[in-house]
């Protein structure tokens, strides 16, 4: 029997039983659609997580103090205060052009801010002059403070866009003065005298808006030179919380991580890297770890879709068994006029494959429409829904394979029927 005839005959019988074919296909359609849509959402989510990480700046190597421990005892929250601005400068001079840029940060906590008659409360952070380069964060207006501002503890500030509008409204913030205040004493109930510390800063620049990372708004902050933070705001002289190094490329990150570690080990006089008093985190590792998490997430979603595909496949098997039973006489007639076992088998296999194949294609279309609908949901805005050709090929391949697997048993039953019994079947 020619393949052409098999196809014709299979399609004919699908057309004859339109409703049944459509209902059977529905299982596969829903299965494939859910695989496609779920994997698209999963891929979109991992893309978004990755973008979020990279929005903190790309190719970053972060050095932070190691947790203090003494013979297995570790103090809660206590970190050694052993990273200094000089460490960062040393990295800058020793690694030179093999790194793109580096900066050091010291958090100065939350402060009450007043300017132009407005009150605001926000986070103040001491950073160094290369912050915009390291963080891939250009300025909206004005300039970032310079290295010499850092050297002379200048009382200048660069503020986030939210902070700027909160304090200055639509007016240009650059050139304005803001006051950081801290209130001491009091003891409550109006007893004793309250004393306020007031420090003036001149706004030299406003950062571009950048959105939030994991729910933390990053456009509401005030950046001041790290030395000013140390001497004027916190009093923790020379100490920094973090040193951030930007590698020249993603490929260079492993090498740069090693270089940074070596410089710091040398400066801290530590020969065994295992007892280093700092930890170096490679952003690629973070991405890989998060990639593994989102990958698992995507796999889970895909598996849920896969289960519905499996259920659809069982539906195919069920309906093919019914079909074989119903058409026993037809099988007998075909065998009487000379159909061999394989002719009968191929006929029924093609029938089930046509069911799942067409179902698969419709399922892709449905899955694609679902992603379009999901994209309209406000909470999912920014979620890039990715349907890759790989997903499509796998979905169609799997559904045709399901046609073969679940069609095989019914087809074999049909092929094995004895012609006399099949002809006598009522």
């Amino acid at each position: 029997m020619k393949l052409y005839d098999s196809f014709r005959s299979a399609l004919q019988s699908l057309v004859v039983n339109k409703l049944r074919s459509a209902l059977t296909m529905l299982g596969v359609i829903i299965g494939v659609a859910s695989v496609i849509a779920m994997v698209a959402v999963g891929n979109g989510a991992s893309q978004q997580v990755q973008n979020t990480i990279l929005s903190l700046g790309s190719n970053l190597i972060t050095v932070s103090p190691a947790n203090l421990s003494d013979q297995g005892l570790r103090g809660a929250g206590a970190q050694s205060q052993n990273l200094t601005l000089d460490d960062m400068r040393a990295i800058q001079t020793q690694l030179g052009s093999s790194i793109a840029a580096s900066e050091a940060e010291q958090g100065a906590g939350r402060w009450q801010v007043t300017a132009a008659g407005q009150n605001w409360n926000t986070n103040v952070n001491g950073v160094t002059e290369d912050y915009p380069i390291v963080r891939d964060w250009p300025l909206q207006s004005g300039d970032f403070f310079s290295g010499s501002d850092v050297t002379v503890n200048a009382q200048v500030a660069v503020i986030g866009s939210t902070t700027a509008t909160s304090l200055f409204g639509e007016a240009d913030a650059v050139g304005q003065t803001l006051q950081l205040r801290q209130v001491f004493g009091g003891g409550g109930q109006g007893q004793g005298q309250q004393r306020a510390r007031i420090v003036n800063f001149k706004v030299v620049g406003v950062l571009e808006p950048k959105g939030s990372t994991f729910g933390f708004g990053r456009d509401d902050q005030i950046l001041v030179p790290v030395t000013t933070a140390q001497r004027v705001l916190t009093g923790r002289l020379n100490v920094v919380n973090t040193i951030v190094v930007k590698a020249t490329s993603s490929d260079a990150m492993t090498d740069t991580t090693a270089d940074v570690t070596n410089v710091l080990l040398q400066r801290h006089n530590i020969s065994d890297p295992a007892v280093a008093d700092f930890t170096v985190t490679n952003q690629n590792d973070t991405l890989a770890a998060l990639g593994a998490v989102t990958g698992t997430f995507t796999l889970l979603l895909g598996a849920i879709g896969g289960i519905s595909l499996l259920v659809g496949g069982i539906g195919i098997m069920n309906i093919m068994l019914v079909s074989v039973n119903e058409r026993t006489r037809e099988i007998g007639i075909r065998k009487a006029v000379g159909a061999r076992r394989q002719d009968i088998m191929v006929q029924f296999l093609i029938e089930s494959m046509a069911l799942t194949g067409i179902g698969g294609i419709l399922g892709i279309l449905l899955g694609w429409s679902i992603t379009l609908v999901v994209a309209l949901i406000p909470q999912a805005s920014g979620l890039v829904l990715v349907i890759t050709t790989g997903t499509v090929i796998i979905a169609v391949g799997v559904s045709v394979a399901i046609g073969v697997v679940f069609g095989l048993y019914p087809a074999m039953r049909a092929a094995r029927l004895h012609p006399i019994q099949a002809l006598r079947y009522e």
Binding site: M1, I333, R334, A336, G338, R340, P419, L423
Partner: protein, 264 residues
């Protein structure tokens, strides 16, 4: 192995033929069915039978005589337990299922009591079916149309079986049986489901095909129908009990003309 060749029997029934070997040669065919574990039914208990090209044979017998089993063996739908069966010179006794399928396709044209047409296909598609499983595709449609013309259904080629009368359906089945130019047309009670007029038409077609040289074997339990053949083989208890020529077969065409069973 020395078997007395009974093919050299003096009688030649039906149209004369040049063939020296019979189309069908059965020797010592036995077939036993088991019902449950204990009961054995000897459906065929040693059948010897020769059918020569161009014969028109009726196989008769009461229920349980083994004629249906003989029909299944003749049609290569079933294999005998013992004995030899040569069909057109090929020993088909020990063939596999797929080999038998090829033999059925090439050598046997079936006509069933219940017509056994595929309801999804129209007349010409039903007739084409044997060529779907053997032969070329390119002249398939033309040959099917020619066969339908031979049975007088040239104006019904696109009709589905449900749109045809019983007699017409049986004619489609005959056209299908003719398509591969088989060695033998095997008709199982072909008139069993038909009124007498349609029966006469079917018998007339089979007689005409026989006159054109086709070998026709027909299983029937109606003496009236068997009287149209040229030879009657009677079965009883799994063996051939009588094997007689019909000296003056009835002519179905005459019955149609004389109006028995009413006009169409």
């Amino acid at each position: 192995m020395t078997v007395v060749d009974r093919a050299a029997a003096p009688y030649r029934y039906g149209a004369p033929t040049a063939a020296t070997r019979p189309v069908v040669r059965l020797r010592g065919i036995t077939k036993t069915y088991r019902i449950g574990k204990e009961i054995e039914v000897h459906a065929l208990a040693g059948v010897d039978l020769d059918i020569h090209a161009g014969e028109f044979v009726a196989i008769m017998g009461p229920s349980g005589s083994g004629k249906s089993t003989l029909m299944n063996v003749l049609g290569c739908l079933d294999v005998p337990d013992a004995g030899t069966y040569e069909l057109a010179g090929e020993n088909v006794g020990k063939m596999s299922d797929d080999q038998l399928a090829a033999i059925r396709n090439k050598h046997i044209g079936f006509v069933f009591q219940t017509f056994n047409l595929l309801s999804r296909l129209n007349a010409v598609e039903n007739v084409e079916l044997p060529l779907v499983y053997g032969g070329d595709r390119h002249d398939r449609r033309a040959r099917a149309l020619a066969a339908l013309g031979q049975v007088g259904l040239a104006d019904r080629v696109k009709h589905r079986p449900s749109e045809l009368s019983g007699g017409q359906q049986q004619r489609v089945a005959i056209a299908r049986a003719l398509l591969n130019d088989p060695s033998m047309i095997l008709a199982d009670e072909p008139t069993g489901n038909l009124d007498s007029h349609s029966s006469a038409e079917i018998l007339a077609i089979l007689q005409r095909l026989n006159e054109l040289g086709k070998t026709v074997v027909m299983v029937t339990h109606e003496p009236d129908v068997a009287a149209h053949c040229r030879r009657i083989v009677r079965m009883r208890d799994g063996i051939v009990s009588h094997d007689d020529p019909v000296l003056e077969p009835l002519r179905a065409q005459d019955e149609i003309v004389s109006g028995i069973g009413g006009a169409e």
